[in-house]
């Protein structure tokens, strides 16, 4: 039998990432619910039962919160946490969130690696020339300088692509959490 004390404690445990202020605010809502329920002659156990699992409630609150945070500040940590919160909402969501996330990371990583190695290619030609002076060709150097220029352009392109994709992905996460929460607003 779950009593009020235990319900509020479990809920608070589930809300660890939130600020103390916000947790207190949430606690007050449920505290009020218990008080009013008891005035109607219900027992704490009955009220807790009707409220449902505090861990599930916590997950729901956190999922909204994490996506909001990722939107306000798209740092890697925030996005990972939002992905994690999305996954937490269900196994099906594991595929819906993790799939696009892996694709996103793969596209961005390969683009950046390509840009980086293009930019560094003149260096490779020079290193090669130092190690094997006999094999040096001016043609190689010219080609590599051109490649480096292309790498720089690719880098600029990747910069904007990364920003755009991350923005889109955050939007997708928000939509996804809405969907899982069952909002009709984006149906």
């Amino acid at each position: 039998m779950v009593n009020k004390e235990q319900f509020l404690r479990d809920l608070d445990d589930a809300l660890k990432p939130l600020s103390a202020e916000e947790r207190e605010d949430i606690r007050r809502d449920y505290d009020e619910h218990f008080v009013l329920g008891k005035e109607e002659g219900k027992t704490e156990a009955e009220i807790a039962e009707a409220l449902g699992s505090p861990r599930k409630i916590g997950k729901e609150i956190l999922a909204v919160y994490q996506v909001e945070k990722a939107q306000s500040k798209a740092s890697t940590g925030n996005i990972l946490r939002a992905v994690w919160a999305g996954i937490g909402l269900g196994f099906l969501n594991l595929i819906l969130v993790l799939g696009p996330f892996i694709a996103l990371v793969a596209v961005l990583a390969s683009g950046w690696i390509a840009a980086g190695s293009f930019v560094l290619s003149p260096l490779l030609v020079l290193v090669n020339a130092i190690l094997y002076p006999g094999t040096f060709e001016w043609f190689d150097l010219f080609v590599s300088v051109a490649t480096a220029g292309f790498g720089l352009l690719l880098g600029i392109f990747m910069y904007f692509l990364s920003k755009g994709l991350v923005w889109m992905f955050v939007r997708y996460l928000k939509w996804n959490v809405n969907l899982v929460r069952g909002g009709l607003s984006h149906a």
């Binding site: 449920y30 009707a50 599930k56 609150i61 909204v64 069952g182 009709l184 149906a187």
Partner: protein, 119 residues
């Protein structure tokens, strides 16, 4: 997935679907007058079987999105209660949700009717 079934006059629905409807229920109840959380929970759970605890996260989200505002009011008995009030934005949002809901339910009804007529 649970199917729709009637039980003790309380409608049980698919969880996802229910949560979308829940948003409409909350907004529509607040059109008439401001309510405190417990009141909303009672009014909705009289008609629809819900995990009562899930109303509060919904209320928090709607408040954050600017559809609701809250204020505390002392009550004659017990502690002060947090009341929820529909904002202008909330009214507009509700209207949009209702339009979607009517369009949706009309489409489903049409499909059911066609099905029953063997078309």
């Amino acid at each position: 997935m649970q199917g729709s079934e009637q039980q003790d006059g309380v409608i049980q629905m698919n969880v996802q679907f229910k949560k979308g409807i829940l948003e409409i229920c909350v907004l529509v109840l607040l059109v008439k007058k401001d309510c405190y959380g417990y009141e909303l929970v009672q009014k909705i759970s009289e008609k629809v079987e819900i995990a009562e605890g899930s109303i509060y996260p919904l209320l928090r989200r709607l408040t954050k999105e600017g559809y609701l505002t809250t204020y505390l009011q002392e009550s004659t008995e017990g502690p002060s209660r947090k009341y929820y009030k529909l904002t202008e934005l909330g009214h507009a949002h509700l209207q949009q949700q209702l339009n979607e809901w009517y369009a949706f339910s009309e489409a489903v009804n049409q499909l059911i009717k066609d099905g029953e007529n063997g078309e």
